[in-house]
């Protein structure tokens, strides 16, 4: 014991501390760091787990392709109006370039993908907004594609299911964007009056004009855990009312508590829950009430 104190070969008192930048430097694509619990995991495993962190349950954003793959019956998706692209109605500076850039980055033509598909063998029309394209903002194309999808659901007499993810109306298309709120709502009203089933699943983030139109008009309104949902942005509200807002303000759980959602559905339960609801609304049953 004493001897150890006087030995010349002292143990190293220092350790190599990785630099701040190196800490952040997780190889792109192979590993993913959870922004909630900061745990680092294999991207492949994360994707296998429907992009839900296995440590803390954080729901990572899904793009439209991942959503389709995880939600509809494999091979059943037939896309509608893929070729539709935005013009530049207000000649907004740099709008075309921004669209081009996002098209290349995402391999999408616009911020929503629509199509006819099946879930557990039942026909549905789905619309999936993609926040990787212009923050999922709604311009003329998004409004038109969603409207056409609703009309398709009406024509086929199948449920309309929409996954929303959007920063709101697209500023570069001005009032034309605003009017897409009315256009989609008008279409939903007709569909609903014809007995159509509307299911809205709000994912992170669903805000502004999208939350104030079709996202909130479902016969059933659901949201994914932790999703940010609201009309006005947090900062704007805080500046207006000069008050600090609670931490959970505008989360899915906050909305559930305030009566705006039927349920918050974790991604693992989502498909089964929607299947069960669609099944209950299927027309034509083998038995009738009189035969009970």
């Amino acid at each position: 014991m004493l001897k150890e104190l006087f030995t010349k070969t002292k143990k190293k008192k220092y350790a190599t501390i990785p630099s701040e930048s190196a800490k952040q430097d997780v190889p792109e694509g192979i590993m993913t760091k959870c922004p909630s619990c900061k745990k680092i995991m294999y991207t492949k495993e994360l994707v296998k787990n429907l992009k839900v962190c296995s440590h803390c349950g954080y729901h990572h954003q899904m793009n439209s392709k991942e959503r389709i793959n995880s939600f509809v019956d494999s091979g059943s998706f037939q896309e509608l109006n893929r070729e539709m692209t935005s013009g530049n109605p207000l000649n907004f500076p740099d709008y075309k370039e921004k669209l081009d850039k996002d098209r290349q980055k995402t391999n999408l033509n616009e911020a929503v993908v629509t199509g006819v598909a099946q879930i557990s063998g039942m026909g549905v029309v789905v619309a999936i907004m993609d926040a990787t394209f212009r923050m999922g903002s709604m311009g003329s194309v998004v409004g038109e594609k969603i409207t056409l999808a609703i009309e398709k659901a009406d024509e086929l007499k199948v449920p309309f299911i929409i996954f929303t993810a959007s920063g709101g109306a697209r500023m570069q298309e001005g009032v034309l964007s605003l009017m897409q709120m009315a256009k989609t709502s008008v279409a939903l009203k007709r569909f609903s009056d014809n007995g159509g089933l509307i299911i809205s699943i709000m994912t992170h983030p669903t805000t502004g004009g999208v939350s104030a139109s079709f996202a909130s008009l479902g016969d059933y309104n659901f949201a994914e855990p932790g999703a940010l949902i609201g009309f006005a942005g947090r900062r704007i509200i805080e500046q207006t009312i000069r008050e600090e807002l609670p931490e959970d303000f505008q989360t899915a759980e906050f909305l559930l508590k305030h009566g705006q959602l039927d349920a918050v559905l974790p991604r693992q339960e989502l498909r089964d829950s929607i299947i069960s609801i669609v099944e209950i609304h299927q027309p034509g049953r083998s038995i009738s009430w009189q035969e009970l």
């Binding site: 309104n221 559930l256 349920a263 609304h281 038995i287």
Partner: protein, 325 residues
Amino acid sequence: MAGTLEFEKPVIELKKKILELREYTKNTDMDLSEEIEKLEARLERLEKEVYENIKPWDRVSIARHPERPTTLDYISRLFSDFFECHGDRLFGDDEAIVGGIAKFHGLPVTVIGHQRGKDTKENIRRNFGMPHPEGYRKALRLMKQAEKFRRPIVCFIDTKGAYPGKAAEERGQSEAIARNLFEMAGLKVPVVCIVIGEGGSGGALALGVGNHLHMLENSTYSVISPEGAASILWRDASLAKKAAETMKITAPDLKKLGIIDEIIPEARGGAHRDLNQQAEAINKVLKASLQELSSLSEEALVDHRYKKYKLIGEYSSLNEFIGVN
């Protein structure tokens, strides 16, 4: 035995005595079988006497029994694929009322009911089954949805009443109840209501404007709690027992008054004694109700409800006294 009610104490005591004697004979050589047989015969007579002559106040205590089955107990036994829907889309989610979609014998229905808690913690969360306006507005939202998708509505009634509170008044408790009565009248789908516990006043009626109204044998339905009535009429809440008898709040009384359609029998001593048997008894009546009502057209259903309520009320005319027609 937990939750023994006052009126059934003699039965429980006799049962205990018999049990004691049995234990005793097991441990000693004495033969008491003759004695036991006698006591058992007495027990049978006593049970019959006690349970067949249940006084209104006894029914009130059964209806309030802490272990009395709740809406969710029946939902899980009567329906499959129940999916609970939350929120009124206006202000909040009131857990004093639960509702959602489900299947009854494979066919879609909307189920709604008051929900009490089973323990203190749950009771606080559910506000002891006393709804705020948002509870009634949630119920109405689900009823309108049922109408859109043409499925029948089943309502379970089990509340002391709508919550008497400041916030409830601010948000329009009266309007919420009134709106439900008004809108339920026009629903184009069959509506079957079943009182499973306490049916307390307007807070109960707000889920109660149906084509058929049934009551479990030991449930109650009244314009005010017996305590409330006693304190208003006689300025003494301790006269609740008397009020319970005077006010005609039990299922047999309401059947005589023509308010309800069927009395659903309960197990001896109350529904909490045998939940599965109780669910089966409800199942039988509910099935028959829905069978009957589903043969009616949309207009006929609304008309049926109109006539049902039009017929309620007693009055005479002055003309009868003076002999004018």
